[in-house]
Symmetry: D2
Subunit: 336 residues, 4 copies
Amino acid sequence: MIRVAIIGATGYTASESLAILLRHKEVKVTYLTALPEECGPIAAIFPSLRGRIDLPVEPLDLDKAVDRADVVLCCLPHKVSMGMVPKLLGAGLKVVDFSADYRLRDVRVYESFYKVPHTDPENLKRAAFGLPELFRPTIVGKDLVANPGCYPTCAALGLAPLVREGLIRLDKIVVNMVSGVSGAGRRANLTFHFPEMNENYFAYSVGTHRHMPEIEQILSDVAGRPVTVLFQPHVAPFTRGMMGSIYADPIRPIQQKELDDLYAETYRNEPFVRLPGGPPTISAIAGTNFCDVWATTAKGKVIVFSALDNLVKGAAGQAVQNMNILFGLDESLGLL
Amino acid sequence: MIRVAIIGATGYTASESLAILLRHKEVKVTYLTALPEECGPIAAIFPSLRGRIDLPVEPLDLDKAVDRADVVLCCLPHKVSMGMVPKLLGAGLKVVDFSADYRLRDVRVYESFYKVPHTDPENLKRAAFGLPELFRPTIVGKDLVANPGCYPTCAALGLAPLVREGLIRLDKIVVNMVSGVSGAGRRANLTFHFPEMNENYFAYSVGTHRHMPEIEQILSDVAGRPVTVLFQPHVAPFTRGMMGSIYADPIRPIQQKELDDLYAETYRNEPFVRLPGGPPTISAIAGTNFCDVWATTAKGKVIVFSALDNLVKGAAGQAVQNMNILFGLDESLGLL
Amino acid sequence: MIRVAIIGATGYTASESLAILLRHKEVKVTYLTALPEECGPIAAIFPSLRGRIDLPVEPLDLDKAVDRADVVLCCLPHKVSMGMVPKLLGAGLKVVDFSADYRLRDVRVYESFYKVPHTDPENLKRAAFGLPELFRPTIVGKDLVANPGCYPTCAALGLAPLVREGLIRLDKIVVNMVSGVSGAGRRANLTFHFPEMNENYFAYSVGTHRHMPEIEQILSDVAGRPVTVLFQPHVAPFTRGMMGSIYADPIRPIQQKELDDLYAETYRNEPFVRLPGGPPTISAIAGTNFCDVWATTAKGKVIVFSALDNLVKGAAGQAVQNMNILFGLDESLGLL
Amino acid sequence: MIRVAIIGATGYTASESLAILLRHKEVKVTYLTALPEECGPIAAIFPSLRGRIDLPVEPLDLDKAVDRADVVLCCLPHKVSMGMVPKLLGAGLKVVDFSADYRLRDVRVYESFYKVPHTDPENLKRAAFGLPELFRPTIVGKDLVANPGCYPTCAALGLAPLVREGLIRLDKIVVNMVSGVSGAGRRANLTFHFPEMNENYFAYSVGTHRHMPEIEQILSDVAGRPVTVLFQPHVAPFTRGMMGSIYADPIRPIQQKELDDLYAETYRNEPFVRLPGGPPTISAIAGTNFCDVWATTAKGKVIVFSALDNLVKGAAGQAVQNMNILFGLDESLGLL
């Protein structure tokens, strides 16, 4: 049994991780931590977990973490995370980090988008970027995995085949995305107060979202040369899931069959990328670790639709997938 | 033109009042106030009002209120309101007060449920209880109207005919109610954070809701003897509207026709009480000043369904109805 | 491995059963059937199941059912079900039936509420009523289980302790319930068209709902004497889950501690009844096989709140629980 | 008083028209028609209108229409409409037509997208295209107005300033739009069944939506040369409103101030186009006749956000605006 600790256990990605791990037959959750003022029985924080687990959420004690766990799912926010991760690694724990702190290789880009100095460039260099479908070999054997952002995972799985094959212009990609509200986190805010968000929809972070450089880094890695995207997120009144509607300029005419074959070939052995053969829906991926992708053409553009659950394949599910890789387990354990 | 000020202009009842008053041909909104830190252009606070009104929201200045307005819609919370209302009345303004401060005649009941001392018993005695369908004659000519609570309005309009006629036991009434989330006000709170409230539903304030004594006061006034109710509120994932499902014990067998005739007779001349002849729906009353009521019998009980929009007939609409009465206008101006 | 067939595989209870069975380690789904015009790949009918199972949905062939399966989850509507079940039983299959056809012992009550003649009274006599928490011993060893209705399960688990102990009057119980829209089934209907049902809420089947006699039968069995309830259902704009707010008259004063102890004792060994110690919420039970119950007192009444997911503990989850009992498995397999 | 008939009075655009006209002081609704099987009291069809109007919905009788009305809001579907409109015009009535039948000047384009022969090319030539902000002078004095589609109105008001000034490439415009579900009409359909559409979101009509040529026609008229767009609609789980996120390639660098000035200048005198100066929201325009527009730049693209209520500015509100123009009334009567 692999023993798992969750640090920062009071947010949505933590509760989703717990729900997944409780169904994972090779794993036992042994330690849950949070800020002292947020601690208590897990059932008081997440009533849906009552009767399924009775661990308390405790203030973090590094010795206890080392004593009780083999691996940590670190669900802290950016900046806080890079203060904690070196200690966890130093104590010999493996870490899957949910924050942005170990995702962007270029510290200057990180500092420009996140507005804080990067305080752990050493571990940043050792971190694997945990998007298994694109970078699996680089994850194996690591002790620190940067779990990707939800938007970047969704956009990259949709675009990777086209970018890798060089079928589209790499400087003209528009990534229009729509997310459910759980992406905003579990913290009260007037914008997401039910009467404000219900029956509402809007764009945000126009031209400035922090996931833009992350999408570009992934796709540039896949392409082997620089890719630039215009990423525009929106929020819609549902709780889980996100979809990208991605518009790109093909470098030559492409037939539907060529697209279908390319995606089928690329994702042939991937258990978590599905090809529905038409527009994906949020309801088909909600609560699952699947990313549903469809590429087509219209009016001289390539359009790619890509959908996943921001809390699962976009966070907790992908983290468990990465954890499974770190421990040499079947990658889909707990996730199907 | 009657000049109206709204004090406490940043909540849902204020924005709803504005939306109504902008369609009221005998009225002009002239002054909007809020706490200094919440002030600004009204369109920045309520974007839906952009292009319809361009008054600023200003910190309250009593002289300005007196100078600019004839009547105040006082949308302050309880306790704060009774600190302000005496000044407004003293300056010669008429006041429709949205808080609970002038609703409960018995100061001890108020203090027991609201947990604060009542600081303005003098004006409490002068206040009219602004439920026109039941107490119209007592509102005419007053300068202070206590605008009733949403739940009490809904429950009382549903029960009044039965209570007045003595057709049900007065000590065994169960008032089960379900409200939309706007009833919780325009203040962020984890309970009403979209991902928490969406796809959710629950009971609250079990046995202790502050509207319970208000319902009992109204019905006791109607009955001419004490009425006790068990009032149990719930919240469901829609923004506007509320419905009561009310269960009572008839003192003798009652036929549907007798109920239909009684309600038709009671509300014959009321423009804002509708009798759909079957279960009302929230969608039929949302955004309107109507209260839809249907009484029937089943398994030896009388069941009454009563539905209204908590922000309109349960707050802003009823306030305008009361204001129309104070100024001798057609009671339905601005409301149909 | 127990081999399971699902007959009537295109509705919500069938897809929920599939989702549960795919996580059940002692079971294999081997056969799915539907009306010929609704057949096809399961992923075309339920896109969320793509990549998890690739059985086709086929027109029913009894020989195939016998050949491939040990047990049938029969998800047909009432009346249709009692035409099919005798054949399945006759062929030696065990059956968990989701319809109402084998729930009501008194054929006249069935015929009065369902408006069709009962055509299989023989098997009705053999059927177990599959509410394990109340009737477990009578389920063991049977080959036909009538899976209870969602409302009856929810109401009965909430009321059983009080009824069994004789703590409340048995002729004055008001069961006010609110359900999500999936309870209406997977069939388009203007009432449940999104723009009609969204932001809406209403009562239906006033005094006439078919689950009323089922609730009474269960509680009468528990009490050992006749119980009558007024059951009033409502529908609210969420997809899954239901809650009862139940009002009863205690026969003597009851303290909270007595209630708490009674419920704790009653459900001490039940894995699927939770006692949150306060008002339950739909979000805590959605997607789970739990029923959350809280009893309290107010204004001389006992109030019981009981919540469950209508598709899980109210249908597919309870069916799997019953199936586990039929095969002598751990009752919670696949359900935690 | 202008007397208005509504033909096809059982859909959402008709009920929205009624709600608007009931607040319009120069107008009286005098005649409502529908298919015989859909007729009845208006309050039975639209319960929210009970107590506000008591006209019956009757089968159409052309003589009655002529006798009772000066103008017809024709809310029939495409194809049906062009069978009716010639008769209405022939009888001397003015017509605002909600269907697509008189919008596309090129009959071949119409026939290619709507898959039916156009049977009334004569009146098509006489019809004004009723988008007042862009084509007001051509509407004045007409007797037939083709009320534009919701998506085309929204896209065109967002793009018109850029297209007219030639600031963007006219062959590379991506119009990504998201609509509420009322756009699908008031007809039950499994796709829009509440449990299917709730918590869902998806793209549809990929590359083929009928509003694509309408958007191109409007923008080509504005530009004075051919404009091509890739229009991609999506549906999200809210009832009213739609938003375009429009991506275009500027022909030269553009500063925010230039954009702000251009839009301010273009819409300076327009009561129904608002410029919030940042991303618009659906909640700000829901229930209003406003279109909220914001243009900005990011990553070398121009992005325009444009939002309106599909039932108001996208249908009934714009129809009343057009009707006001036909009768020489203040264009905003009934709409503010």
